[in-house]
C-alpha cells in the first residue's frame, strides 16, 4: 500500500509541477506578491499634499505653514488664492486637505483673542482624511500652546507616551509579511487542490484512476499529501524571506508554527477537494475556490479588524481557517506566543480540516457511484 501511495503522491506532484510555467507561477509571483504587497498594505498616511488659502500672511500663519511643511507626513503645501481654487483642488483630488486662514488670524493670536482656522478634508477618502485631521489638529494645538502669552497659565500640559509592544517602531512590514504568508498560502493552496479532481475529470484521467487498484481513501490521501507538501515548501520560502529579506524577528517556535501550518493546510486542502469534487469542470472549480477565497480573506481580520464588523456577522468568521492561522503566524513571529495559545487556535483548524476532509471524501465517494 505504501508503494502505491508513494507513486500516487509523486503523480500528484508531477501533475502540478510538470508544466514549467506552472512551476514558475507557484514560485515567482508569490514572492513578488510578498514583496509588493508587504509594502502596499499600510493605513499610514504619508506624502500628503495640502492646499492653503492664506488671507492673513502674518507672522503666525507663516509659523503654522512652516510647522506643517516640517511635519514628516506632509509633502507639499499648495497655496491657493481663492475659495474656488481651493474647491477645485479638493474636487480633483489634487490635495487631501485644505486650510483656510482668515485675514485676522495673526492679529487675533497676538491680541489673545480666539483665532479661527478652517480645515477642509476630502470625505471620499474619509479614513485617510481622519488621520490627516489628527495630524493637523496636533500641529495647531502645539502652535496654540506656544502662542500662549507669557504670564498666562499654561493649561494642561499632560502628555501621552505611547509604547508599542512587540513592534517598537510600529513597522508595518512586520505586520504585513507574516500575515501575507497566511494569505498567499490560502490563495495557492486552495487553487491547486480545487483543480486536482476537476482537472482529471475534464481530461478523462479520472476514470483511469478509478479502474486502478487504488482504494478511494488512497486516492484522497494522495491528493491530500501532495498539496500539503507544496504548501509546506511555499511557507518555508516565505518564512526565510520574512526573516532574511524583511528582517522580521522570530520570537516564537518555528516547530509550533509548522505544526499548526500542517492543520491549516489540511483545512485548506479539505475545502479545495470539497470544491473540486463538487465541480464538473476546471472553470467551475476555480470560480468555486474564488467564491470561498474572497470572503475568507475579507472576514479574517487581515484588512480590517473583526471587532469592527457588525455583531451578527462576527460568528461567520469562526469558520474561517485564515482567522486562526493569522493569530498563529503573527504570534509566533512577533509575540513569541505561548504553546497554549497556539493550541487554542490550532484546534479549530484541526476541526475545520476534519469536517472538510470528511465532507470531501463523502462527496467524492458519492460522485463515484
Amino acid at each position: 500500500m505504501w508503494g502505491r501511495l508513494k507513486a500516487l503522491i509523486v503523480k500528484e506532484l508531477l501533475a502540478v509541477l510538470r508544466d514549467p510555467r506552472a512551476r514558475i507561477i507557484l514560485i515567482g509571483p508569490p514572492i513578488i506578491q510578498l514583496v509588493v504587497f508587504s509594502y502596499a498594505v499600510t493605513l499610514e498616511v504619508k506624502n500628503v499634499d495640502i492646499a492653503v488659502l492664506d488671507r492673513d500672511h502674518g507672522a503666525w500663519s507663516q509659523e503654522l505653514l512652516q510647522r506643517i511643511a516640517g511635519a514628516p507626513s506632509f509633502r507639499a503645501i499648495v497655496p491657493v488664492a481663492t475659495p474656488a481654487a481651493l474647491r477645485q483642488a479638493i474636487d480633483r483630488e489634487e490635495v487631501l486637505a485644505a486650510i483656510q486662514l482668515g485675514p485676522s488670524f495673526s492679529r487675533d493670536i497676538a491680541a489673545g483673542r480666539p483665532a479661527e482656522l478652517q480645515i477642509i478634508l476630502d470625505g471620499r477618502r474619509s479614513n485617510a482624511a481622519q488621520i490627516v485631521a489628527g495630524y493637523l489638529n496636533r500641529i495647531v494645538t502645539g502652535l496654540a500652546a506656544d502662542a500662549a502669552r507669557p504670564g498666562a497659565h499654561r493649561a494642561a500640559a499632560t502628555t501621552l507616551v505611547p509604547r508599542d509592544w512587540f513592534n517598537p517602531n510600529r513597522d508595518y512590514v512586520w505586520y504585513t509579511v507574516p500575515n501575507l504568508i497566511a494569505v498567499i498560502a490560502l490563495l495557492i493552496g486552495l487553487i491547486v487542490t480545487a483543480l486536482s479532481i476537476a482537472r482529471e475529470r475534464e481530461l478523462g484521467t479520472f476514470d483511469q484512476l478509478m479502474v486502478s487498484p487504488l482504494r478511494t481513501h488512497e486516492i484522497l490521501l494522495g491528493k491530500l499529501v501532495a498539496p500539503l507538501l507544496i504548501g509546506i515548501v511555499l511557507i518555508t520560502v516565505y518564512v526565510l524571506a520574512a526573516l532574511f529579506v524583511f528582517g522580521v524577528p522570530l520570537r516564537g517556535s518555528l516547530l509550533l508554527l509548522y505544526g499548526s501550518a500542517v492543520f491549516y493546510l489540511a483545512a485548506l486542502v479539505g475545502l479545495g477537494l470539497f470544491i473540486s469534487s463538487l465541480a464538473a469542470t476546471q472553470q467551475q472549480a476555480i470560480l468555486g475556490a474564488f467564491l470561498f477565497m474572497v470572503p475568507a480573506i475579507l472576514l479574517s481580520g487581515f484588512a480590517t479588524p473583526i471587532d469592527n464588523m457588525p455583531g451578527w456577522l462576527q460568528p461567520a468568521t469562526l469558520f474561517d481557517p485564515l482567522r486562526y492561522f493569522l493569530v498563529i503566524v503573527n504570534g509566533v513571529f512577533l509575540k513569541g506566543l505561548e504553546p497554549g495559545e497556539i493550541l487554542a487556535n490550532t484546534l479549530p483548524l484541526a476541526l475545520i480540516a476534519l469536517v472538510t476532509l470528511s465532507a470531501a471524501a463523502w462527496l467524492f465517494r458519492r460522485r463515484m457511484e
Binding site: 510555467r21 493605513l43 498616511v45 471620499r124 494645538t141 494642561a156 508599542d164 474564488f290 467564491l291 471587532d307
Partner: protein, 377 residues
C-alpha cells in the same frame, strides 16, 4: 465593397451571438457576473469597515486621585473605547498578548490635577499591540483625543486661560465619515475587474485549451474580429453586473449618487477596455486555465484590491510601488467612481482618467491581437 462589408457584419453578428449563447448557457459565468458581485458588495457593505467601533482597552488607575477619576470617567464616556478598569498593568498584559484588549492606558500614581496648574508634565502611558499597527494608531489617536478634551474641561475648571485657535473641521462629500460610502463604490471597480479580466481570461483560456480557438482560426474570421466578438458580450455582461451593483449600493446601502449616469457609464466603459484587454492577453499568453486563473488573480484582482488606492493610500507606499501602481487600471477608475457617487461630476478628473484607461487598453489589445495572430502562423 458594400457586399463585403455586409458579409463581414453578418459574420461578426453570428460570432457575437455564439459567444452570448456560450455565456448564457454556462452557469459559472452567471455565478461570477451576478452572484459574486452580490457577495462582494455584501462583504464590503457590512464586513469590511474602517469605522472603528468601541475598542476594548484596559485602563489602569494606579492611585485613585480626583484627577485620575475624572480622566477615567472621560475614557469610560468616550464612544471610542470599551473600558475595563484595573489597578495594575499586569492585570491586562496577558489580555493584550492574546488580543482580548487592544491597548492599556496607564494613569500613573503621581498623576494629579494640581500638577497641571504648575505646568508640570504628568505622562499617561498608552501601551498598544504593535503587531497590528492600524489598531495601534487608532488607539493612540483616540486616547490623545480623550486626553485633550479632558484637559480642556479641567483647564476651564481650574481657571487656566487658554489662548484659542478654534479649529473648524469639515469633511466634504461624506460628513458622517461612513467608510461604507467609499468602500462600496470601490468594490464595484473590483467586481468589474473580476468580470472583465478574470472571467474573460478563464473562458478564453479554456477555448485555447480545448482547441476550439484554433477551430475558429480556421474560419475566414480575422483575429481582430475574433477578439472583438469575444469581448463584446463580456463588455455587456460587465456593464450589467455594474448596474446591478450600483442599484444595490444606492438603494440597499444608501450610498449617495451625486453625479450623472452618463459619467458613470463613460467611466465604466473606459475601464472595461484595459480590463478586457488584460483578460484576452492573459488567455492568449497562457492558453491554460490554471495559469490563466493564477495570473488573473495576481495581476488583476490583487492589484485592484491593494494597489488602487481602494483601501490603502498610494501616496504612503514606497516610490517603487507607486510606480508599479501606475499601470493598474483600477487606480484610475476608483477615485473617479467614488467622485461620481459622493462628489458629483468632476469632468476634468474623469476625462484624464478615461484617457489613461483607454490608452492602456489600446496597448493591451494590441499585444493581445499580436499574440493571437502569431499562433496561427
Amino acid at each position: 465593397m458594400s457586399v463585403g462589408r455586409q458579409d463581414r457584419l453578418r459574420r461578426f453578428a453570428a460570432l457575437v451571438t455564439k459567444e452570448t449563447y456560450q455565456i448564457v448557457r454556462d452557469p459559472s459565468s452567471i455565478l461570477i457576473a451576478l452572484v459574486l458581485p452580490l457577495i462582494l458588495l455584501f462583504l464590503f457593505g457590512y464586513g469590511v469597515s474602517l469605522d472603528a467601533t468601541r475598542t476594548k482597552i484596559g485602563l489602569v488607575i494606579e492611585a485613585p486621585t480626583p484627577a485620575a477619576r475624572t480622566l477615567a470617567a472621560s475614557f469610560q464616556a468616550s464612544r471610542y473605547f470599551d473600558v475595563r478598569l484595573g489597578r495594575d498593568r499586569r492585570q491586562f498584559t496577558d489580555d493584550l498578548v492574546r488580543g482580548a484588549v487592544k491597548g492599556i492606558v496607564v494613569i500613573p500614581a503621581n498623576f494629579a490635577a494640581d500638577q497641571m496648574k504648575h505646568g508640570a508634565v504628568s505622562p499617561i502611558q498608552v501601551i498598544v499591540d504593535g503587531t497590528d499597527p492600524n489598531t495601534a494608531s487608532f488607539v493612540e489617536n483616540d486616547a490623545q483625543g480623550v486626553l485633550a478634551s479632558w484637559a480642556r474641561i479641567e483647564g476651564a475648571d481650574t481657571g487656566a486661560q487658554r489662548p484659542g485657535i478654534e479649529i473648524e473641521q469639515r469633511f466634504w462629500f461624506n460628513p458622517q465619515l461612513t467608510s461604507r460610502f467609499f468602500l462600496v463604490p470601490g468594490s464595484i471597480a473590483i467586481v468589474m475587474t473580476l468580470v472583465g479580466t478574470m472571467l474573460t481570461a478563464l473562458v478564453v483560456a479554456r477555448e485555447w485549451e480545448r482547441g476550439t480557438m484554433e477551430a475558429m482560426m480556421a474560419t475566414p474570421v480575422t483575429a481582430a474580429e475574433l477578439l472583438a466578438g469575444k469581448v463584446l458580450p463580456y463588455f455587456v455582461l460587465a456593464l450589467l453586473s455594474m448596474t446591478l451593483c450600483v442599484l444595490i449600493a444606492v438603494f440597499a446601502f444608501g450610498v449617495p449618487f451625486r453625479g450623472s449616469v452618463v459619467a458613470l457609464y463613460a467611466l465604466a466603459a473606459a475601464f472595461l477596455v484595459p480590463a478586457l484587454g488584460q483578460g484576452m492577453l492573459i488567455s492568449a499568453a497562457t492558453k491554460n486555465q490554471f495559469l490563466a486563473s493564477q495570473l488573473a488573480l495576481i495581476s488583476a484582482f490583487l492589484p485592484a484590491f491593494l494597489l488602487s488606492g481602494f483601501l490603502f493610500e498610494i501616496g504612503s507606499m514606497p516610490k517603487i510601488i507607486q510606480w508599479i501602481s501606475v499601470i493598474v487600471p483600477a487606480r484610475y477608475l476608483i477615485p473617479s467612481l467614488q467622485s461620481v457617487f459622493l462628489a458629483g461630476d468632476i469632468w476634468p478628473m474623469f476625462l484624464r482618467d478615461i484617457a489613461v484607461m483607454l490608452f492602456e487598453g489600446a496597448i493591451l489589445f494590441a499585444i493581445a491581437a499580436r499574440n493571437t495572430r502569431k499562433r496561427i502562423a
